[in-house]
């Protein structure tokens, strides 16, 4: 019973060590926040509220995917090329980053969060020239010819 102080001190140290990851997490959250995706200069607004996009962009992608594929409802802003139009930034040499590059805007958060996507095994990682400028109200320029062929 003479070692009571020693025992309790040891217990406190043990509990502290066991819960260390939690403490580390709490400390780290104060020190650094999650990375943000790259965006072209001069653009301030995403198609939705930034906080909402951070949490729900994948639902939006999934929803517009079904709208486009099954129902033919296409909003040029709300497609993957639409994302590219604002978020794809050129590298120093003027080229676009590859999908595996850390500079590719999806990767800045996705590598941080440890989430892998396979969107770009099929989808292009280039902006859509027909919907360039972010405010893509114009439809494909080549496609506006009259439907009635002689």
């Amino acid at each position: 019973m003479r070692d009571r102080l020693l025992i309790f001190a040891g217990l406190v140290v043990l509990v502290g060590l066991l819960t260390w990851p939690s403490w580390q997490g709490l400390l780290a959250r104060e020190a650094a926040s999650a990375p943000t995706p790259a965006v072209r200069e001069g653009l301030t607004h995403c198609i939705r509220d930034t906080a909402w996009m951070r949490r729900h962009h994948m639902e939006l992608l999934m929803h517009t995917r079904d709208d486009v594929v099954y129902r033919g409802i296409r909003d040029p802003n709300e497609t993957i090329p639409g994302c590219m139009n604002c978020h794809l930034t050129r590298l120093a040499d003027g080229s676009y980053p590859t999908v595996s590059s850390p500079q590719f805007f999806c990767n800045s958060c996705h590598s941080y969060a440890g989430v892998k996507t396979d969107c770009f095994s099929c989808h292009s990682n280039r902006p859509d020239p027909a919907a360039a400028g972010g405010a893509a109200q114009s439809v494909r320029v080549t496609a506006v010819a009259s439907r009635e062929t002689p």
Binding site: Y70, I80, A136
Partner: protein, 248 residues
């Protein structure tokens, strides 16, 4: 003046109910926003079951030497056929010769966008489907690459992507392990345009292809169909293809 206890009670209950309703509305409001996704700005109207898109190909105008439709499709949709047997072919030129008379006709061959598509019947995952406006498509998000549809199609219209694809066209996603075929340029049609092959045929070719609504009796396509007889390929299979051929 005091009201009897019994007449005040329902009011209090109603008030509690209304407060509760207001609170739950506040809680539900973020969820309701999920439904408003579709109301995006500048979205196309989408496929309508009132129309059925089709093509009419005039074999008397098409020539053996012209490849404009194939080139246009390849550029628009970003596929390349290097002549290997497994290379993609959304559209190809075929030549038909009558052995008796020796007369030859050359026509483009592509997905016939059947009203009763056998590829849709056999697809085990539902990836092959027919859109409301009659366009037959592959949802490559759920295609598992089993290629039953390729076996079922009597027109050999579909192809399988065997190798990794890079540098796709932004409006035409393609990827390894999935089946693909002519989509009648659905992105262009949704935006109010016509398929790239038809456009190229009129511009660089001989104007042998016509695009239009098979459901509309006043469309140029239907008027032309009423003027001269047109054949459905393998009409014996009763698939009611949306692509018709004149002069075969």
């Amino acid at each position: 003046m005091t009201e009897p206890e019994g007449s005040r009670q329902p009011d209090a209950g109603r008030r509690r109910f209304l407060t509760g309703a207001a609170m739950s509305t506040l809680l539900l409001a973020p969820g309701v926003s999920l439904i408003t996704y579709a109301a995006g700005r500048g979205a196309t109207a989408g496929a309508s079951s009132r129309v059925r898109w089709g093509l009419l190909i005039d074999a008397n105008k098409c020539t053996d030497s012209c490849n404009a439709c194939v080139t246009a499709c390849s550029t628009t949709n970003g596929w390349k056929n290097l002549g290997r047997p497994t290379d993609p072919q959304w559209i190809r030129k075929v030549s038909l010769t009558d052995p008796e008379s020796g007369i030859t006709r050359s026509v483009p061959m592509l997905c016939q966008h059947c009203a009763e598509p056998p590829c849709v019947d056999v697809c085990p995952t539902g990836a092959s489907f027919k859109r409301a406006d009659g366009i037959v498509l592959v949802d490559r998000h759920i295609c598992i690459g089993c290629r039953y549809c390729m076996l079922a199609c009597p027109y050999k219209a579909r192809s399988f992507v065997h190798e990794d694809v890079t540098d796709q066209e932004p409006n035409s996603p393609r990827g390894k392990g999935t089946v693909e075929s002519c989509n009648l340029c659905a992105p262009r049609i949704d935006a109010g345009g016509i398929p790239a092959c038809v456009e190229a045929c009129a511009r660089d070719g001989y104007g042998a292809m016509m695009f239009g609504d098979l459901n509309d009796p006043n469309s140029a396509l239907r008027r032309q169909l009423a003027k001269y007889p047109a054949a459905q390929l393998r009409a014996d299979l009763q698939l009611d293809p949306g692509v018709r051929y004149q002069g075969l």
